[in-house]
């Protein structure tokens, strides 16, 4: 057996190669130059992310399997990669100032960001469970470290360790599920499962495998009861990393989850549909109720991100291939509102003083109207108020559920967004109608935060008013399921 080296396929994974190369390069630059200022590394990261994005856009029209089916290039992967890279760029822009402010000594910050992004990209563009697992682990391991990068901070260390332990636990489930699937079907390719299932061969082992894979993904996208790590980790992690996780990990994991289940296990929807239905309801309700009583804005946003995973799951359980474009739309909108919201949270803090309790936000509108305005936009979008993208996203998701006959699920979802409005609007109320409670000092209105906020606001308003283009893109992305 001779294996030919597929040189011509290398160009098709140019974005991944660029990220990997730059990641290694940055690592070396860091140890050899030992520069005090990390913004040089940040700029290089931006360059690499930007050029990777250019390649992703150029390659977005291709659709082919690469490297003997271990990897693939298609519209779903391209759109998600584009989203992840844009998210990375936004996070890096705000990190430029944030890293400087928090005096991060470790130069590994940017290389790790690149590696975890690379992991996400690998994860979303493969149809092979083993490759997916490799991508997922690359992403996760990098993020475990990133979470604990502020070593002096006890909370960060605790968060990192918790995340690592539980993440390893969840990975075990996932890899066990993969093993069982391989054992029962002899295939690692998700298309292969479809063939087996289509033949009507659904052994118990295969079902257990499916269930365990679902558990593994449920951990990454933080569905109740696999969510317990989320508030602690989101709170403890550096805020830029929290944004990165909330937006990136969730999107990547959700898209992969979607790809695996919609490609391979759709015939079994009768089996897993119900349990995910239940998870969606529990996730939304639990997260929203708990968010009501949070005083810390990062924890509140953590619960909110759990709740949003629940909303997305509402569209997921329908099993409608065409309508699953609403999931993609939601993820895109969600990414921008989350990154925006966290950029405002960063803005509020200073070195050693993060000002995360809601009291810090009291009376903000009078002192820093611009920050209050930005945060208001993001919170309103998270609430789902038109004309922002958050509204259209919720609208698409719930209308998907209704079209597919899941009326009750949609009703529960809408009721939940009503509950959610309380804790989002509470922050707005604090900012606009309360008198300042405590002195939070001067706010560092660095252009790097403002730029991120403005980009996010522009995007939210633009896609909220003219959702058509993005919806077409999302529809193109999910066309891979046909």
């Amino acid at each position: 057996m001779d294996v030919k080296f597929p040189v011509d396929e290398l160009i098709l994974i140019a974005p991944e190669i660029i990220l990997c190369g730059f990641g290694l390069l940055l690592l070396l630059i860091e140890v050899f130059l030992k520069t005090k200022s990390k913004s040089f590394l940040g700029i290089l990261t931006l360059v690499s992310a930007g050029s990777a994005l250019v390649f992703v856009l150029k390659l977005s029209s291709f659709s082919t399997d690469l490297f003997f089916g271990l990897y693939s290039l298609d519209s779903l992967g391209s759109l998600t990669k584009g989203l992840i890279l844009v998210m990375l760029i936004l996070v890096v822009i705000m990190s430029l100032r944030y890293v400087e402010r928090e005096e991060v000594i470790s130069g590994e910050y940017y290389p790790l960001l690149l590696f975890s992004t690379l992991g996400m990209m690998i994860m979303v563009s493969s149809k092979n469970l083993l490759t997916i697992f490799v991508g997922l682990e690359l992403m996760s391991l990098s993020i475990y470290i990133l979470v604990g990068l502020f070593r002096d901070n006890l909370k960060a260390a605790e968060a990192s360790l918790k995340y690592f332990l539980l993440g390893a636990f969840a990975s075990a489930f996932l890899v066990y599920g993969i093993a069982l699937l391989y054992g029962s079907t002899g295939s690692l390719d998700i298309k292969g499962y479809l063939e087996v299932i289509a033949k009507g061969d659904t052994s118990t082992v295969l079902i257990i495998g499916v269930a365990l894979i679902a558990v593994g993904f449920a951990f990454k996208i933080a569905l109740v009861p696999f969510h317990m790590w989320t508030p602690d980790v989101y709170e403890g992690a550096p805020t830029s990393i929290t944004a990165f996780m909330a937006a990136g990990v969730k999107s990547a994991a959700f898209v992969t989850f979607l790809r695996v289940f919609y490609t391979a296990f759709l015939p079994l929807i009768k089996q897993w549909g119900d349990i995910l239905w239940l998870l969606a309801v529990i996730t939304m309700s639990y997260a929203n109720l708990t968010a009501l009583v949070q005083q810390n804005i990062k924890r509140m946003l953590a619960y909110s991100s759990i709740a949003h995973a629940g909303y997305i799951l509402v569209a997921f359980v329908t099993g409608e291939k065409i309508l699953s474009s609403s999931i993609i739309y939601y993820l895109v909108a969600y990414t921008f509102m989350n990154v925006g919201a966290f950029s405002c949270v960063i803005l509020m803090g200073r070195k050693g003083e993060e000002n995360l309790d809601i009291d810090s936000y009291a009376g903000l509108s009078a002192r820093h109207p611009f920050v209050a305005f930005c945060l208001t936009i993001f919170l309103l979008s998270l609430t789902g108020v038109p004309p922002l993208a958050g509204f259209m996203a919720k609208f698409y998701v719930f209308s998907t559920a209704i079209k597919a006959g899941y009326v009750w699920l949609a009703i529960i979802g809408v009721l939940n967004s009503v509950v959610a409005a309380y804790y989002y609007l509470r922050v707005i109320m604090y900012m606009y109608f309360r008198d300042p409670v405590k002195e939070i000092g001067r706010i560092d209105l660095s252009p790097s935060y403002i730029l991120v906020s403005l980009i996010c606001i522009f995007f939210l308003i633009y896609t909220g008013i003219l959702p058509r283009e993005l919806m077409l893109l999302a529809e193109g992305a999910v066309s891979v399921f046909f």
Partner: protein
Amino acid sequence: MKEYIGILIILIFANLIALLIVGLSYFLGERKPKKVKLEPYECGMTTIGPARRRISIKYYIFAMLFLIFDIEVLFMYPWAVVTKNLKLFGFIEMFIFIIILLVGYVYVWKKGALEWE
């Protein structure tokens, strides 16, 4: 399910036998507890001080680094077996793999993780 019945039987028997042996020795054995007998080590040096001592973190780093590089080198064995078939492709892939390892090695080195003091 049929093919697993054997395993189930072995499982049951193994447990039974283990219980049996432990139980027998518990009931039949003679016990004369002495201070020396109750110490963790019946022979060798006498234990002094608390058992939960701090061990220098450098051991862990060494252990971890060893583990990582060891496992990664392990990857070369299967490669070596089929390298004839893989030809240039296998060579280049392994080359890239080793370069990545090398970067890691240089990084570790320059970081000072290999220095004891």
